[in-house]
């Protein structure tokens, strides 16, 4: 394994963490927006309590991924960011609206304002992962050529694979959130709310599974290189994802919420890893490989050292934060 491969593995681990934790925070916003009826207030309170202490830390994974890409694979960052200027700007605005609306809602007590900020928070929690997924679709379908804004400014992210990517991203975030919130609701002693989220998780999990299966047909036509990788080298990962997804639905059905959390995470995480395995060693499909895009050895080694030291500091701290925020309220 080269230094560039090692950086790529750490980058992908970071992106996976973003999907599993940051993604669930997006999903919580999705359910917050769609709440209604007699349980609306309890859903809002649960979402606020669950993501309140952790969402900023979970958000940092995204920044981590960006800076690692531009340090280790500068031409990839330049090509992706300049071609995908529109969806990236949408993500940036979504991130700003979402974070500020969330903290604003928490800090005001006027019900009308709470509603306004709540709607902003929910909408941006859907828009942001959609565009992130669309960006993934653009890269995976080979629509980002190397160079300065060399790709199609609109077609690069408005195409079947990007729409699939965006839809899957929103769905997976909502699914993860529903699964996590199920056990959070049970932990706070609200079994009725846990059951409500169980139903949501079962529904959303099934929907995501169906979209993913239909998606394979889309990819075979719209992203042939990715498709070839998915059905060959990445096939074991794809199968693992499918089994983990089905397994998590079964566990949810049996109300084994803790175990369902793990398998749901595995199902979503292995989608990301399946994509990576299928596309390896190309960073930009059809053009740049890892070897062509990687920075020099000195940069990669310095980056690896920083990331390892960083992980030693960050991982236990993050665990402490999760432990603290997951303890039942006194």
């Amino acid at each position: 394994m080269t230094a560039a491969d090692a950086v790529l593995v750490l980058l992908w681990a970071g992106l996976t963490a973003y999907a599993l934790f940051g993604g669930a925070d997006f999903g919580a916003g999705f359910w917050d927006l769609l709440r209604g009826g007699r349980r609306a207030d309890r859903i809002g309170a649960l979402v606020e309590d669950t993501i309140g202490p952790v969402w900023e830390a979970n958000h940092v994974w995204l920044i981590f991924a960006l800076v690692v890409v531009w340090t280790a694979f500068p031409p990839v960052f330049a090509a992706v960011a300049s071609t995908l200027y529109v969806p990236l700007t949408a993500v940036a605005i979504g991130v700003i609206l979402r974070g500020s609306a969330f903290i604003f809602r928490k800090s005001v007590d006027d019900p009308r304002l709470e509603r306004l900020f709540g709607i902003l928070f929910g909408l941006s929690s859907i828009i942001t992962p959609f565009f992130l997924g669309a960006i993934a679709g653009a890269i995976a379908s080979g629509r980002v050529p190397p160079g300065n804004a060399a790709g199609d400014p609109v077609g690069s992210w408005l195409n079947p694979t990007s729409v699939l990517g965006g839809t899957l991203a929103v769905g997976m975030c909502a699914y993860l959130a529903a699964v996590y919130l199920t056990s959070d609701a049970r932990r706070t002693g609200d079994p009725a709310l846990a059951d409500a989220f169980r139903a949501r998780a079962l529904g959303m999990g099934t929907a995501v599974g169906v979209v993913a299966m239909l998606g394979i047909g889309v990819l075979s036509r719209d992203a042939p290189a990715l498709y070839d990788g998915l059905v060959a080298r990445a096939l074991p990962v794809v199968i693992l994802s499918a089994f983990a997804g089905i397994g998590s639905l079964g566990l949810l059905y049996q109300r084994r919420f803790g175990a369902a959390r793990a398998t749901a995470g595995l199902a979503v995480g292995s989608v990301l890893w399946g994509w990576a395995v299928a596309q390896y060693p190309h960073l930009l499909v059809g053009s740049l490989t890892i070897g062509q895009a990687a920075a020099g050895e000195a940069t990669l080694v310095a980056l690896l050292v920083s990331l390892v030291v960083g992980a030693i500091l960050v991982v236990p701290s993050m665990a402490a934060l999760f432990f603290l925020s997951q303890r039942a309220r006194p």
Partner: protein, 444 residues
């Protein structure tokens, strides 16, 4: 060079929009980021005093300031994200060519930011859930990582002013030494100058809020104590900032002389160059300035006869815009000395009678000092950034070589402008609501 040169770039609307968008996002984020550096320190001081028998006032202050930090850190975290996007969206050629040289400090800053976000979560959530001493300790990593992120991110800007640690042949970078890039010659002065500025913005910013409280309710103990603690931080840092600022100017004289020439509006190289205070550069001449003979030579080289390099030593297309750089510098220095004066006033009054100066003018000055500190810090960034023009990487890559070729950037700029206006209104509104004292119980 005339007054409207600053607008001459508008014949390239996309380049103009890219620069304006970057400036807008940076200028907005950096004020908030300053509080991320300084406010944790103030909160810890208050909590420490509260635990050591300082009384309920300190406890109240620690909680109030923590509420402010909770809002500002969230807003800062999301407004900082867009900056990392913009590095590639707006300046792809900068990253493509130099990402491997200047990227490392951003990655390390990412780690520091992680620690800060995690411990802010622990600190705010754990307030009534952890033993008091442990809780105080969980605040320490916030302070350290806040200062560390400022340090690392500013090293990247310092590198853009003093690019080292690589070899450039035919547009391709080789022989990268990322540590040399981090510890480039501009790093010591620039990072120190910025971290002190962040402490000043926080100190005077928070003090201004409490000064406003004292203006309306002179007897409030919370406001009095909060004012004293925060103002002391700002007032202690100010003299040090004057020394560091002077070192920064001396550094420029040798390492980035054209920036200093733009600051001073020195069009021709001169021995015994005068120091221009105030004034407006018009048509290649400094007008209406108070000039101290030999002053610039003395300040820059500690020698009244020293030769100071003028703008004429580089071709016209390599000269920064003089007017905004000169004016911004004057503003920054004037505000700095204004604060120094306020600090001396308080110290004098404290020595004489252990109290705040009685004059309303002092409170008024203190109220002004908050926004003024932010203005001075922004003005300093105008000097640094515009003074580097037309280069994005000093002497190596021009801004117009780095910019994206994507079109339609003005649309993005104006969209973001709307977002920032809304964000500003929202932040101010929410902070005011958060800090509003609980309504008094109606007297039956």
């Amino acid at each position: 060079m005339n007054l409207f040169d600053i607008f001459a770039i508008v014949d390239q609307p996309d380049l103009w929009a890219a620069r304006a968008q970057m400036a807008l996002s940076l200028a907005w984020h950096i004020v908030i980021a300053c509080f991320g550096v300084g406010l944790p320190l103030l909160i810890l001081v208050a909590e420490f005093r509260a635990q050591r028998g300082g009384g309920a006032v300190y406890d109240e202050l620690a909680h109030r300031w923590a509420k402010v930090l909770g809002v500002l850190f969230a807003v800062g975290a999301v407004s900082g994200t867009i900056l990392s996007f913009e590095m590639g969206i707006l300046w792809p050629r900068l990253i493509e060519t130099f990402g491997s040289v200047m990227g490392l400090p951003f990655a390390i800053e990412g780690v520091a930011f992680f620690i800060e976000a995690i411990f802010i979560g622990i600190y705010l959530y754990g307030w009534d859930r952890l033993p008091p001493r442990i809780h105080l300790l969980t605040g320490v990593p916030i302070v350290i990582s806040g200062v560390a992120s400022a340090w690392f991110v500013v090293t990247a800007n310092a590198w853009m002013n003093q690019p080292v640690g690589f070899v450039l042949t035919d547009g391709v970078v080789t022989g990268v030494d990322p540590l040399a890039a981090i510890f480039n010659p501009a790093t010591p002065v620039e990072t120190t100058h910025m971290i002190l500025a962040a402490l000043m913005v926080t100190g005077f910013g928070i003090a201004a809020g409490h000064a406003w409280g004292l203006w309306r309710d002179a007897g409030s103990r919370v406001h009095r104590t909060g004012f004293l603690v925060a103002f002391t931080l700002g007032a202690l840092v100010t003299p040090a900032q004057v020394v560091v600022g002077d070192a920064a100017a001396q550094f420029l004289a040798t390492n980035q002389p054209i920036k200093l020439a733009a600051i001073e509006g020195l069009y021709q190289s001169e021995r015994g160059a005068p120091l221009s205070i105030g004034g407006i550069p018009i048509d290649g001449q400094m007008r209406f300035a108070l000039q101290i003979p030999d002053g610039l030579s003395l300040l820059a080289f500690r020698d009244p006869n020293a030769l100071v390099q003028g703008l004429d030593t580089v071709p016209a297309d390599q000269q920064p815009p003089v007017l905004p750089v000169h004016v911004a510098f004057q503003v920054m220095v004037a505000i700095g000395f204004f604060m120094l004066g306020l600090g001396v006033w308080l110290a004098w009054s404290w020595r004489r009678r252990r109290g705040l100066p009685g004059a309303r003018a002092f409170l008024l000055g203190a109220i002004v000092s908050g926004p003024a500190a932010a203005v001075a810090m922004e003005a300093g960034w105008v000097v640094t950034e515009l003074g580097r023009q037309p280069w994005i990487v000093y002497g190596v890559m021009r801004v117009d070589e780095a910019v994206t070729v994507a079109r339609g950037l003005p649309i993005g700029l104006f969209t973001l402008l709307g977002v920032y206006v809304a964000l500003t209104i929202g932040t101010v509104f929410v902070l005011r609501r958060t800090l509003r004292p609980a309504p008094a119980e109606p007297i039956a």
